[in-house]
């Protein structure tokens, strides 16, 4: 048993709404910024989003084209593998279902890739059926670069490392290959409700 530091509480940790809080998580009020490298600064004039890989015709959108796609406002709880959970986060973005509309593919997996080199892998079915978005607004404001702007992937039912910041595109692939964190100890799938943080969980 560790030594206990008298009177230490750390930042306020509220576990009252426990049915919304996955095991091992605590609720925060702020929005922590996590960073694995320098923040990419992508002017929207240069931004492009692509869908490529096991697909007949790769697709791409410029920022203007992307902003013309039907978008949704969604409010979601998000869970970071570093144990913080933020409830009721408000986003605006394009559903991945919209992005993949009409796409014919036999691929079952996706590698999401970002400006700056980050990657994360997901099953295609975890990106579809109303479960994922490419979000460009948070709390009514354009998404700040520190939080992944101009746009990030939003996949709230998985640990938030799967919600790739500065997302550049989705590559449809036949095999599930590990991305940036998945190749270094983090779980290939990442279900917070089954506490799938690491390899072997």
């Amino acid at each position: 048993m560790s030594f206990i530091s008298r009177g230490f509480r750390g930042k306020r940790r509220d576990v009252a709404t426990s049915s919304r809080v996955p095991p091992g998580q605590h609720v925060v009020d702020d929005f922590p910024v996590l960073s694995a490298g320098p923040t990419p600064r992508i002017p929207v004039s240069e931004w492009k989003f692509v869908v490529e890989g096991e697909i007949d015709q790769p697709r791409s959108w410029t920022w203007d084209e992307f902003r013309k796609l039907p978008a949704e406002q969604v409010t979601k709880d998000i869970h970071c593998v570093t144990k913080w959970t933020k409830l009721d986060t408000p986003w605006k973005g394009v559903s991945v279902d919209t992005i993949l509309e009409g796409v014919e593919t036999a691929a079952e997996y996706v590698m999401a890739f970002s400006y700056g080199g980050y990657t994360t892998n997901l099953p295609l079915e975890d990106l579809t059926g109303g479960k994922a978005w490419v979000a460009y607004e948070f709390d009514g404001q354009p998404l700040h670069p520190e939080h992944g702007g101009p746009a990030r992937l939003l996949v709230p039912h998985l640990y938030f490392w799967k919600s790739a910041k500065w997302v550049q595109g989705l590559r449809l692939v036949n095999e599930d290959q590990p991305g940036f964190w998945e190749s270094n100890g983090y779980n290939m799938y990442g279900d917070p409700w089954r506490e799938q943080r690491y390899w072997g969980d």
Binding site: S2, F3, I4, S5, R6, R9
Partner: protein, 250 residues
Amino acid sequence: MARTALLGRLDWQLGEVAELVPQTPRVASLVLDVPDWPGHLAGQHVDVRLTADDGYQAQRSYSIGSAPEDPHLEITVERLEDGEVSPYLVGEVRKGDKVELRGPIGGYFVWTAGDKRPLLLVAGGSGIVPLMSMIRHREHTGSSNPTRLLYSSRSYDDIIYRDELERLAAGGNGLAVAHTLTRMHPQDWRGYARRIDADMLAEVGWPKAEMPAVFVCGPTPMVESVASTLVDMGYDPATIKTERFGATGG
């Protein structure tokens, strides 16, 4: 002592707070009694770990301000407003409390009195702490290598170790201290009053021909700016050692 400071798995140990020394409105030194302290080198740091009663843990690194020759271990902590660890260490901790720590850590950002080169120390804010360990070590060992400290603080009240630095500089042991205040300064202030730049470094520092040993410590932007300015001024990058403190290290 050098060998034990650099080898072996580090274990967590408990230090008892012997004294709390306020330094500035936001900064305090914790003087710790660490029974099995193996000794350290000037410039090294410790990791401090706090554990709440529900098992939640937070860990931060703090530079050691005390000299290797001092009887107690001193860490000096700046309280960050939305910090998690620093408001506990500066605010909650009382004399007699125990703090879990491990160390000493660091073999790169280290100065020993055996190094006879002129010394240029450049500090920003709480970056003074490891450099103070070097200054105190130099004082204890009676070293005579000429030493210059350039210390950047927000205001006069934010200068950590202010009185001690004044006393040591007046001691005639070859230590010169120059301050610069970046946000505000007193009416009768005669030091610098701007961010560190090439002109200031040229005035305060050693000419590059002297090949001083240089240590720069403080917030990341300041450290990067000072180090690259010195390199632009022709100092050999291999002689410049840097330690960046993040503002989120609270």
